[in-house]
């Protein structure tokens, strides 16, 4: 079997393996949400001001909320298996469309955050590890811990106050300039401009994790025999750090980045809220309080798939970093 065919088969295999997990998530959340008081109709009626019980019953029938639970679940699962995530009760739109709209901002924030957090974390961890127990090491550890321990929203608001209001460097919130509605490259730059503060805020939180991990990983790799071998060959310390140790030390970091993705989608609720970033986290948050069952289940489903997909990518990156791990 050729390499790419094997890889493709591996990807398919992983996706099929993920299927039961994703379905289990959907089913679990379906029942969890049933335990919540009130439904989408209550919320809609409550917002509308006032509605008669008859009207509400009609709405429930329209949403299928009057059916017995197992029937509702069966219908939902049947739809899911035909790639139909149903209609959002609240937005009167196909769930898939709502989620796909939010997918790009979510991915933007997620990818830029991971890149920034991992990039800086690796750098700081590396600097700390090479200067073990010096002031540099201590300062980096403390810095990382402080950024981790400061409540996210506080960091977010402070960044807005300093960089948006006082310095005027970045917009306070949102994803685009709504007076200009740029197009083409200008739009890309505009979005990047809006992305800066949320990314910094969110990655500050994860920075500590990667810094710490990278430092420990570097130290561990530093003690390995192959480093001695490299020295015995007369290789320079520089090359030992950047070629020999770094690549090995990155492995646990890559693994962790994969594990973190799930947390990141959820963990960004606060950042999305503070920066009015139109991501999946806020959508889920709103869907929960609107009891928009279809939408929430859809988000859980797609974010689970997203996590699975990212993990897959991480695995492939991992296997390219570590020849011992074979994809296939």
């Amino acid at each position: 079997m050729s390499h790419s065919a094997r890889r493709l088969r591996y990807v398919l295999k992983r996706l099929i393996q993920a299927l039961p997990i994703v379905l289990a998530i959907v089913i679990m959340n379906f029942f969890l949400l049933q335990m919540a008081e009130g439904d989408a109709v209550d919320v809609l009626a409550g917002e509308a001001g006032s509605a008669t019980p008859e009207y509400m019953a009609e709405l429930r029938a329209k949403f299928g909320l009057d059916q017995p639970l197992p029937v509702q679940l069966a219908v939902y699962l049947k739809n899911v298996l035909t790639f139909d995530l149903g209609y959002s009760f609240r937005h009167e739109m196909p769930v898939s469309q709502l989620i796909l709209d939010r997918m790009i901002p979510t991915m933007l924030l997620m990818v830029s955050t991971i890149m920034l957090a991992v990039g800086f974390g690796v750098l700081l961890g590396l600097i700390a590890a090479t200067g073990l127990n010096t002031w540099r090491d201590t300062a980096i550890s403390i810095f990382a811990l402080i950024t981790y321990a400061t409540p996210l929203f506080w960091v977010g608001l402070m960044l807005i106050v300093v960089f948006s209001l006082n310095l005027g460097w970045f917009p306070t919130s949102g994803m685009e300039n709504l007076t200009m509605f740029y197009e083409g490259w200008d739009r890309v730059i505009d979005i990047a401009h809006h992305l800066v503060l949320p990314t910094i805020t969110l990655s500050l939180f994860y920075l500590a994790l990667y810094t710490r991990l990278m430092r420990a990983s570097m130290l561990e790799q530093y003690g390995q025999d192959y480093v001695t071998t490299a020295r015995a060959k007369g290789v320079t310390e520089r090359r030992i750090i950047f070629v020999h140790v770094l690549r090995n030390a990155l492995l646990p970091v890559v693994t962790m980045a994969g594990v973190q993705v799930g947390a990141l989608i959820g963990g960004s609720v606060i950042v999305e809220s503070v920066f009015a970033w139109p991501g999946l986290g806020m959508l889920a948050f709103e869907a929960l309080f609107a009891r928009d069952l279809n939408l929430l289940l859809g988000i859980f489903l797609l974010s689970a798939l997203l996590v699975v997909a990212v993990n897959l990518v991480v695995d492939i990156i991992y296997s390219s970093l570590d020849p011992r791990i074979e994809v296939g």
Partner: protein
């Protein structure tokens, strides 16, 4: 134990963390002595800056004493952190131990479950759980525990997986020891160190999650906690910075202290790192 303490005490950062943590614990324990009244009580002039009108750290929009809130809130925040961690560790150890020890289909099943919980966006899931169970200190603890245990389970599974093939465990098999006894009496004591380390860090994370939930309005409205204070004070940030900043600093210091202690424990308990420092 003695040598452990010696190793721990060599780490100055860890000692510093321990000292802060000690102060916070004392503060929590003596809150009712220094601030005998209900921390929610309207103690005086509202929005007093720190040091004025008899408020050491100022007062909030209802004239509640921020300092009293921090002192009483310490108890809640630490309690939430500890209890949630204990529950998470308990679940995680059971799941991880069974999966790692038995392997095979048990492992598959339990690890798929763990994976499932790791695949769900955890903070959103915590919000969901609190919303469903209604915001109260119990539901917050449960929600934090539910989203935290997978990490413990994975760790414990890994430890059990490597320890179960150790010769001393096999020796127990050859004398006919029961599985439960092997797991609890032989293997578990040998993976306590990493569990203690991950547990200590989880206390800090739990405190942060609690404050995040409170920020989104999902705190217990009847109990004073730092999360509550920060959440309640955040709209005042621009007008009365002290209301949310001091509890925020309390969280920061506690999380920092716990992390320093946790890292110290890690260094002291992890022999590999020990040799190099």
């Amino acid at each position: 134990m003695h040598s452990f303490w010696k190793r721990f005490a060599r780490n100055r950062q860890a000692l510093f963390g321990l000292a802060i943590l000690g102060c916070i614990l004392i503060m929590a324990a003596t809150a009712h002595l220094f601030f005998p009244t209900d921390p929610f009580s309207l103690a005086g002039q509202s929005m007093s800056p720190p040091g004025q009108n008899g408020f050491l750290l100022g007062s909030d929009s209802l004239g509640r004493d921020v300092a009293a809130g921090i002192a009483h809130g310490a108890k809640t925040s630490l309690l939430i952190g500890l209890v949630a961690t204990l529950v998470a560790v308990l679940i995680g150890v059971i799941m991880g131990a069974l999966a790692g020890y038995y392997g095979g289909i048990v492992d598959d099943l339990l690890m798929r479950t763990t994976e499932m919980f790791q695949t769900i966006p955890s903070f959103v899931f915590a919000i969901l759980l609190v919303a469903i169970m209604k915001p109260s200190i119990e539901s917050i603890v449960i929600a934090i525990a539910v989203v935290s245990w997978p990490a413990v389970a994975r760790l414990v599974r890994g430890e059990f997986l490597s320890l179960r093939n150790r010769e001393f465990v096999q020796a127990c098999h050859t004398i006919g020891m029961s599985d439960v006894r092997i797991m609890l009496g032989e293997i578990l004591p040998n993976c306590l160190s990493p569990i203690i380390v991950i547990g200590s860090l989880m206390v800090a994370t739990a405190i942060l999650i609690e404050s995040g939930l409170a920020f989104l309005g999902l705190g217990d409205p009847n109990i004073m906690s730092w999360g509550f204070q920060v959440g309640a004070g955040r709209t005042l940030l621009r007008s009365a910075w002290w209301v949310c900043t001091f509890p925020g600093i309390a969280i920061l210091l506690t999380v920092l202290a716990i992390n320093l202690v946790g890292e110290g424990l890690n260094d002291a308990l992890n022999p590999r790192l020990r040799e190099r420092s």
